[in-house]
């Protein structure tokens, strides 16, 4: 009897693109798909995605958020793994979906999707075990901890590991890296002056760090920080982690 090599099943991942990346940063989504394919991950995009519902949840519209959650859980019910390019959306799915759908027919699905959801950097480092990439972005780079990823998902290490391992790119610490950027969803337009004041502090810290490029894992943070840098005509950039890792 001959021995045949058993083919390794290709890893599969369903991409939860998130509303902000879908609408405003589709290039981030493209980078992620190319990156994951190079790592031999079979990436699917379940159809009909809208939003994870976090903006509804945070503003206290929980019944509405639960309906959106139910839709989303339905869409991803059969996924082996769900990759989410935003820390806040990943948090919403993992942390809040089970509670929102606890007493409904979708409870078991919600728990399963929550368990199988990964923020993008976590997926690379913790799930795939892949920590070394190249970059085509000029440094120095500085990492900003988005609140939901750091405090909600207790993740500060995976993104840093990926950045530190980039050959030929200098990584510098960002003073106050764990301080909020001031986005906070609707907060950014309910109290715009306060939101901007908080942003000013973040930008001052970025400038003080000596970095040329800030890296973050959340589309909300990027919208806020890029929006500020752009308005000030700053030569500094703010990129999503996926835009820094070469596919």
């Amino acid at each position: 009897m001959s021995v045949r090599a058993v083919p390794q099943p290709r890893r599969r991942a369903a991409l939860m693109i998130t509303c902000l990346a879908d609408m405003f940063y589709p290039e981030v989504g493209e980078r992620i798909v190319r990156l994951l394919r190079r790592l031999d991950v079979d990436v699917t995009l379940p159809a009909g995605q809208t939003c994870c519902g976090l903006p509804l949840f945070n503003s206290g519209y929980h019944a509405e958020a639960a309906e959106v959650a139910r839709r989303t859980v339905d869409i991803f019910a059969d996924a082996e793994a769900v990759v989410v390019p935003s820390g806040s959306c990943a948090w919403m799915v993992k942390h809040e979906y089970p509670g929102l759908l606890r007493d409904t027919a979708a409870a078991a699905d919600a728990a399963r999707v929550a368990e199988r959801a990964w923020e993008f950097s976590q997926f690379l480092v913790r799930r795939l075990g892949h920590t070394t990439f190249e970059t085509d972005v000029a440094g120095p780079l500085a990492y900003h901890d988005s609140c939901h990823l750091l405090r909600g998902l207790h993740e500060g290490t995976s993104p840093r590991t990926l950045l530190q391992n980039l050959a030929g790119a200098e990584v510098v610490p960002l003073p106050g890296s764990d301080e909020c950027c001031g986005f906070g969803g609707s907060f950014s337009v309910r109290l715009p002056e306060v939101s901007t004041s908080i942003l000013d502090r973040k930008l001052a810290n970025l400038e003080a760090s000596g970095a040329r490029c800030l890296v973050a894992c959340d589309a909300g943070c990027l919208m806020q920080i890029r929006g500020g840098l752009s308005r000030r005509g700053s030569p500094l950039r703010a990129l999503h982690l996926a835009e820094v890792l070469k596919p």
């Binding site: 405003f24 945070n58 950014s188 929006g227």
Partner: protein
């Protein structure tokens, strides 16, 4: 309803605070310092996280048998010769204290720092009744002279420069030319207030804890005014929220191990004062009468309410120091007695959800407060609950509710969502310059006044997927 509801919009108060250059700098320096001190204290305290969990558990366990602990506390205080009074409202608390003052013919009361007495607006009531209240905590003394309210839970005058304090002292104490030197200012306060301590008929304090097992009321201070106010005047009144009771001395040791570290980075505050009723017959010094006023003022209703967890609060101020909003706008902009993250919850507790219609949104939900809290209170969760109450009780403005419900409708339908993207692309055309949106009309202008926006992509990711999936 404890405090009058503020009518100036929060946004206006916040913007005014942001324009105060000195306040901004003072807040930055002070909060940064407090953050550093707290971090250093906990870095050198490996059992810190474990003790925080234990402290949280003690608080929850105490609430689960609150009635028993309070009964035991009251019995013990009475056994020691003290008196306990029960105040359901702020008004009642004021009346109880004024009665005590009147019965004793008190004309001057020295006060050790107490947020509970701020909460019930005691000083105004004492003044009106002809009893002069003298704040003795240096920060409180300063703001009393300035006719202001505290702007931070533990550092009430954090918003004032030494120059402002010197000017204030010169003017109010009729001693012109006082230099802007904290040492000199402290010495002056010491002299002025020493006289008051020695003459006062009445000492009024708060209480950080009350140990049920022994009938002991505990004050945590740094200046010595807590010791003065509880030992020199003939009558001592302590005002305390019901949630401050703890079961035993063993529990007390747990809280003492984390309280000062969280507040100021000190291992312990300079003075921890344990008051066990009035002076014993064999004692040379001490009050002849001891009164504890147990305060409800909205707390009891939260035992089974959404704000139950906020009853764990130790009033350390750590959440204020790390809050990105507080760090920008300071305490006065919040408008009520208690500022900062926990302050929003306490304001709702004291004054109802209507009082936090705007304040519940004075947060980016970053979670730094929960991280810093010595009893691990999940403040963001409760802020979201308050927002929910504001929505469900129809307190939120109706245009906002309409917008959010419409938004929810769109998110439930991929077709509407796609349509939304197409409409966005069309509507944004007049506003896109060099690949950015620099100004938008109406409500969207709140963003674009200070920040650019990316335009809605020509093709969304989901629209591009067909190209990517081949």
């Amino acid at each position: 309803m404890s405090e009058p509801i503020i009518t100036t919009p929060l946004r206006e108060r916040a913007t005014q605070a942001l324009g105060d250059r000195f306040l901004h700098e003072a807040l930055d320096i002070a909060t940064t310092k407090f953050i550093g001190l707290r971090r250093e204290a906990f870095d050198n305290f490996p059992q810190g996280d474990q003790l925080r969990s234990r402290a949280r558990a003690i608080k929850e366990a105490t609430l689960q048998r609150l009635d028993e602990h309070l009964e035991r506390l009251v019995d013990n205080i009475e056994r020691l010769g003290g008196h306990v009074h029960f105040a359901t409202t702020a008004e009642e608390a004021r009346r109880i204290i004024l009665d005590i003052a009147k019965r004793n013919g008190a004309r001057m009361a020295v006060k050790s720092k107490s947020m509970a007495t701020e909460e019930i607006h005691l000083n105004d009531a004492l003044e009106a009744a002809g009893v002069t209240p003298v704040e003795t905590d240096l920060g409180e003394y300063i703001i009393q002279l300035a006719h202001e309210r505290p702007s931070h839970i533990i550092a009430p005058a954090i918003h004032k420069t030494k120059g402002q304090v010197a000017e204030l002292f010169s003017r109010e104490l009729k001693r012109p030319g006082i230099p802007a030197d904290p040492e000199v200012l402290t010495k002056i306060a010491r002299e002025e207030l020493r006289e008051k301590f020695l003459q006062a008929d009445l000492g009024i304090t708060g209480a950080n804890f009350a140990v049920a097992e022994t009938g002991t009321v505990v004050l945590v201070t740094n200046e010595g005014n807590g010791r003065m106010a509880t030992s020199l005047p003939r009558v001592h009144v302590a005002v305390m929220g019901v949630e401050k009771v703890i079961p035993s001395m063993t529990d007390l040791a747990v809280f003492l191990a984390i309280l000062a570290k969280s507040a100021t980075g000190q291992k312990l505050s300079v003075y921890t004062t344990l008051v066990q009723g009035p002076r014993r017959p064999g004692e040379l010094e001490g009050p002849d009468e001891f009164h504890l006023v147990l305060l409800d003022n909205g707390r009891i209703a939260q035992i089974a309410g959404v704000l139950r967890e906020s009853l764990y609060c130790l009033r350390c101020g750590a959440c204020l120091n790390v809050c990105p909003v507080y760090r920008q706008i300071g305490g006065h902009a919040y408008g009520y007695t208690y500022p900062g993250p926990i302050g929003i919850l306490l304001t709702a507790m004291l004054n109802g959800p209507g009082s936090v219609k705007e304040l519940s949104h004075a947060s980016s939900l970053c979670g730094a407060c929960a991280d810093a809290c010595p009893v691990n209170i999940d403040i963001p969760r409760m802020l979201i609950e308050l927002r929910r109450q504001v929505d469900e009780q129809g307190i939120a403005p109706w245009p906002e509710r309409v917008v959010f419900k419409a938004f929810a409708r769109v998110l439930r339908s991929p077709a509407l969502y796609r349509l939304g993207a197409r409409i966005g692309r069309l509507a944004q055309r007049p506003f896109v310059r060099a690949g950015r949106v620099r100004s938008l009309p109406l409500f969207f202008g709140h963003w674009t006044r200070t920040r650019d926006l990316p335009p809605v992509a020509a093709r969304t990711f989901q629209e591009r997927w067909r190209d990517l999936s081949s």
